[in-house]
């Protein structure tokens, strides 16, 4: 096998790898964009109700904390959507926070995480 063919092969392999990464990033982005927009107004209302009354049974109805910590935006200064999503879906080991993935879908969790980070809860509490 000549040196030339080997380097050509390598170049093709690198190109394929880059293409896969680019495609994966695009795919992930479009999935993320989609999931952010796929919950219905009705579901959003259900989730808001759940947030106050069911999450609220531990975090307080105004989400300023109870047995569980506060969920007000100040609390999340160094946290991102992904962190909140994972916590909602899979719970936190060693604490009373349960995994909600039997009830809450990825899209729901994304919407909730965004809602909590956005500070819209403060309007709800008014």
């Amino acid at each position: 096998m000549s040196k030339n063919t080997t380097s050509r092969k390598l170049a093709i392999q690198i190109a394929i790898a880059i293409a896969i990464i680019v495609l994966a990033v695009i795919a992930k982005k479009s999935v993320a964009d989609e999931s952010a927009g796929t919950i219905s107004t009705e579901r959003a209302e259900q989730l808001t109700h759940m947030l106050r009354h069911d999450c609220g049974s531990c975090h307080g109805m105004t989400l300023k904390g109870g047995l569980g910590p506060s969920l007000l935006p100040e609390q999340f200064k160094d946290k991102n959507i992904e962190y909140l999503k994972l916590t909602i879906l899979h719970g936190r080991n060693g604490t009373a926070m349960p995994p909600w993935n039997a009830i809450i879908s990825e899209d729901d969790a994304h919407w909730l995480a965004e809602f909590l980070l956005s500070g819209r809860i403060n309007e709800l509490n008014k």
Partner: protein, 418 residues
């Protein structure tokens, strides 16, 4: 006084006129009766109760004989996790709000007698044996504060410090606060894994302001709530961080806490707990106590002579409240989200499910009339309180209440631990 035509002053004038007429009538009747009358008017409150309207920061006053709403008191703050104890004359309801508010509501005159904001975040409270002290269990900052029941002035502050695994001093959230005989309050430290007994009695039969505190350590991981037996002898804390319960014999606190049912559910995967169970009152029938299993669709049965588990009753969902009808013949259970549309009734003798009821969406609490012929059930998402007959299980009537949660009847005034 000049009279104008505004409705307000018309109203005022009318009131004055009314008052004048009343005074005349009163003097006349006093003269005719020929006896001295006092200004005190007694009204009975033994069949009254209160219902928390959690979203509105209000309490609705009800009558359990007429099954009617008598009045509504607003402005009690965040009542998302509120509870109530009564003064022993059953005139005042002490409302413990989530936001640290402690409000003394006069349920006869239907007004707020006193209100203090005593912490940032609280979970519940208790009234002392003699009715002179009211204690509040706090999350932030963690500890218990004790107030004069008359004036709501602070009597004692008991911060719940414990030493964590790194040797650091930390303040723990407190849970499961109850009153116990001998002017004592008993509570547990959620992060501290301890149970404390605060004794306010002095040798002369009075009260002290600096209580003697007995600390029982390593009672079990994360006590989440507790209850006390009706005779005030046994304190049982439910554990969240491990299976089992912590038992303290208040006749012998020096013996420390004993772990009971420690092997319950060993090796089984616990279900996600969407709502913490409550241990309130004491579901007792004969020698048996019925308690919710954490993370399981089961009610556990404990023999109170041996403190061994003698049964596990499969139920519809994860139990939240497990309460015995006052005669002990039946045990009523409600469930955690998302199975909170259902009530089940367990036969205390056979352990069979006697009845499954669907009162509506989000059944949060139930309260029996003093002798148990009826039960009031709060159905949060339907803004309704249903009154059911406990023999026929049929609905007798229902009352409107906004997002009702806890229901508390004045008969609690004379029960230890309630």
């Amino acid at each position: 006084m000049t009279l104008s035509n505004t409705p307000k002053s018309k109203n005022k004038a009318f009131k004055l006129l009314n008052a004048a007429m009343l005074t005349t009538a009163f003097s006349l009747s006093a003269l005719l009766g020929g006896c001295a009358t006092t200004s005190t008017t007694y009204k009975a409150s033994g069949d009254l109760g209160t219902i928390i309207e959690r979203a509105d920061g209000a309490v609705t006053i009800v009558n359990t004989t007429a099954r009617t709403i008598e009045g509504r008191i607003e402005g009690l703050g965040d009542l998302s996790h509120a509870s109530i104890v009564y003064s022993r004359d059953e005139q005042f309801a002490y409302v413990f709000g989530r936001d640290g508010g402690l409000t003394k509501v006069d349920i006869l005159n239907q007004n707020i007698a006193k209100r203090v904001l005593q912490s940032g975040n609280s979970i519940g409270g208790a009234i002392s044996q003699d009715g002179k002290l009211v204690a509040v269990s706090n999350y932030t900052p963690g500890g218990v504060k004790v107030f004069d029941a008359e004036t709501l002035e602070l009597v004692a502050d008991i911060p719940a410090f414990y030493t964590d695994e790194n040797g650091e001093q930390k303040q723990s959230k407190t849970v499961g606060l109850v009153d116990a005989p001998g002017q004592r309050f008993v509570f547990s430290l959620f992060e501290g894994n301890e149970t404390w007994i605060a004794d306010f009695s002095n040798d002369e039969g009075g009260l002290v302001t600096k209580p003697k505190i007995t600390k029982l350590s390593n009672v079990g991981k994360q006590p989440y709530d507790a209850l006390i037996s009706p005779d005030g002898r046994y304190y049982i804390a439910g554990l969240f961080g491990e299976d089992g319960l912590a038992l303290v014999d208040l006749w012998h606190p020096e013996k420390g806490a004993k772990r009971i049912l420690p092997n319950y559910g060993k090796g089984e995967q616990r279900l996600p707990v969407y709502k913490m169970p409550h241990l309130e009152g004491w579901a007792v029938a004969g020698n048996l106590a019925f308690v919710p299993a954490v993370g399981r669709h089961e009610v556990l049965v404990i023999d109170m002579t041996s403190w061994q588990q003698v049964g596990q009753i499969p139920v519809y969902g994860q139990p939240v409240f497990v309460m015995s009808r006052p005669d002990g013949r039946e045990i009523w259970v409600n469930f955690a989200f998302p199975k909170n549309d259902t009530l089940q009734v367990i036969d205390a003798e056979s352990f069979d499910i006697q009845k499954t009821l669907k009162p509506g969406k989000a059944v949060l609490h139930m309260e029996f009339t003093p002798r148990g012929e009826e039960v009031w059930v709060s159905v949060r998402d339907e803004d309704t309180v249903r009154v059911l007959n406990t023999t026929t299980y049929k609905e007798i009537t229902s009352l409107k209440a906004l997002k009702p949660s806890g229901i508390f009847f004045t008969s609690r005034a004379h029960q230890i631990g309630l």
